[in-house]
Symmetry: C2
Subunit: 340 residues, 2 copies
DNA sequence: CACGTAAATCGTAGCGCTACGATTTCGGTC
DNA sequence: GACCGAAATCGTAGCGCTACGATTTACGTG
């Protein structure tokens, strides 16, 4: 086991490296920040001193001195949701490759918590901030606008936003599904969803769906789960739904996990999919291609959001981005399989 | 939009708060660090100055001065995996409540990448570090042992470890499943798994399974997916497996996602579960209770790992933890449903 | 080979805060 | 009201680094 040294044991300092390399600390600092501005000879000396001493720069000291940090804060509702975690992973890779560290926080769908997290992240003097969606408290708005930190709101599109926006329209997703079902002549529909309080984006998809179906003279029964998509509850609610509304011929789900629950419930009840009732999801999760029957769903650009968010943020750090380029609608794709 | 101020616009400083509150900066600092050591009167003055100015402490300055930071680094293979992300969420909540920020990194199952991440996190002088599992490069070992940072290795148990350990035995998981299947008289088995290179823990579960089955005179056919659990490939490989080994009467899967793929493939082939072939998973993911038939699986202590890791780490920061208390085996629970 | 210019290197002054010893304030006592 | 100990407050000296102007070095030129 590591033997405990004195508290806060800051290892080797830049000065020690400088002494060993027989240069001034400034030169070491310069070498680390802009290696091509020191001569090849010194570079070699310095690097070997660094290696020999196992020097690690002290980020806090550097950050304090330069009053900026290679930190980017990212707030998602929950890393537990595979949509966000996949975006997060891509985002992390791209930002880290550019030399940034991610400070991640789970807002847990709570604006007050988000505000606290924003506060705590701003304490780091972050180079940028990534938030999920448009829902923020007044105070959060105030904090952000007085801090001058570049901000990207991701995973949504269609509102003005604080600064930069990378996402897609959830309303359009709902419309897309609705149009697909209507084209099959299905007008009696239901929308089974996680609770809107836990997911405003699901609510937007619902609105897009409902507006489109109703505009075509169809009906929509909304069934909301009490919390996050819990398979058991999904099954039960679907059962109740179909009993109360036997006329329903299509079920749109707020996401693929809900759709999976619906699928299994239909199996249990012996309802043929899509003959008796069509089922559609959202997310194009890995398993959807091989359910029985394969699930019709929507592919959101989860990785593309991460990639473009990283790029936009990094770009905004080096040059002025204006107008249109600050807002990206990445769109979605309907994946038609057999279930609808 | 926020108007850009001068670069690195550090907002209000502690000195400004002090001036407005008519006390010295030291008193403000003291108030922030140990509020009960300043008089009620001053406390009130200071707090109101803080509120009025919207003061946010500068973490970098504080960290530099005290040469410690309220940062804890966490490295997981990928946040995309729901096991890790759930642990992460719990860990985050607990550590944040204790005033710590998480610096998260995805190792992507790559020791070299992990080493880089460890290096980058050590630059922050973290109060602690959480790693996943026991597999680390030599250099990582060296870095950690010379840094004196408390380290918890989580999600595994049964090896000495670097410092502290919170997890459970994957070998035991495999054994548990095997014993359950053997008790039903099933001796011709298969193990369908994500690729071991992406998941040593799956390999350990396999070893536990195989050892137990073989010790009872049974057989195990191993089928490894090429990468992460991809449902389509799972279906295909399961098909091939059952064709090549029609005698197989039980399939253990490295996780529930794989099991889901197997389930659907059996449905497609019209094989009755569990009559013709039993299927068991690992993870007790949300959907497993309502598949058709419901899936027998193992419940790993995903949240408990987060909770206990947080507690152990925090405890180790305030007092000496010794011997036994540094290594926690949280165990697992077999969840018997209908599929096996 | 003195000179000029550009490239390389260096010295200094903080960045905003904390640690800690020094100083002041506050009640209570005699 | 002078005196005391404890509590509250303050002043100072950095933490390790970066920014930037000052200085030195290198190198080609007349």
């Amino acid at each position: 086991m590591a033997k405990r040294q004195r508290r806060g044991s800051q290892r080797v300092t830049m000065g020690e490296v400088a002494r060993l390399a027989d240069v001034s600390p400034s030169t070491v600092s310069l070498y680390l920040r802009r290696p091509d501005e020191v001569s090849a000879h010194r570079a070699e000396q310095i690097q070997s001193a660094i290696d020999r001493l196992g020097y690690l720069p002290n980020v806090m000291a550097g950050g304090l001195a330069s009053s900026r940090s290679r930190v980017i804060g990212v707030l998602v509702p929950t890393v537990t949701n595979s949509f966000f975690s996949e975006t997060l992973e891509t985002l992390e890779r791209h930002l880290r490759d550019a030399g940034y560290q991610l400070l991640i926080g789970n807002t847990e769908f709570d604006e007050a918590r988000e505000e606290e997290l924003v506060r705590s992240i701003l304490s780091w003097n972050p180079a940028g901030l990534v938030l999920t969606g448009f829902g923020h408290s007044r105070k959060t708005h105030a904090l952000l606008s007085q801090s001058a930190t570049p901000v990207v709101e991701m995973w949504d599109y269609g509102q003005p936003g604080l600064d930069m926006v990378v996402g897609f329209s959830h309303h359009a997703c709902g419309r897309l599904i609705a149009e697909h079902l209507l084209a099959q002549g299905r007008r009696r529909t239901a929308f089974v969803s996680t609770h809107f309080q836990r997911d405003v984006r699901a609510q937007n998809r619902y609105h897009g769906f409902r507006d489109t179906v109703e505009a075509a003279g169809g009906t929509v029964v909304l069934q909301q789960l009490s919390g996050r998509s819990h398979a058991e509850e999904t099954g039960r609610l679907t059962g109740e739904l179909l009993e109360a509304h036997p006329e329903i011929e299509a079920i749109a789900c707020s996401n693929d996990m809900v759709a999976l629950g619906v699928l299994f419930e239909c199996q249990r009840q012996g309802l043929a999919i899509p003959a008796r009732v069509a089922v559609a999801g959202f997310g194009n999760l890995d398993f959807t291609a091989s359910t029985v029957p394969p699930l019709t769903t929507i592919e959101p650009p989860r990785h593309e959001i991460g990639r473009r968010t990283a790029r936009l943020l990094l770009d905004s750090l080096t040059r002025r981005i204006d107008g249109d380029a600050r807002r990206l609608d990445l769109g979605v794709r309907l994946v038609v399989r057999e279930s609808a």
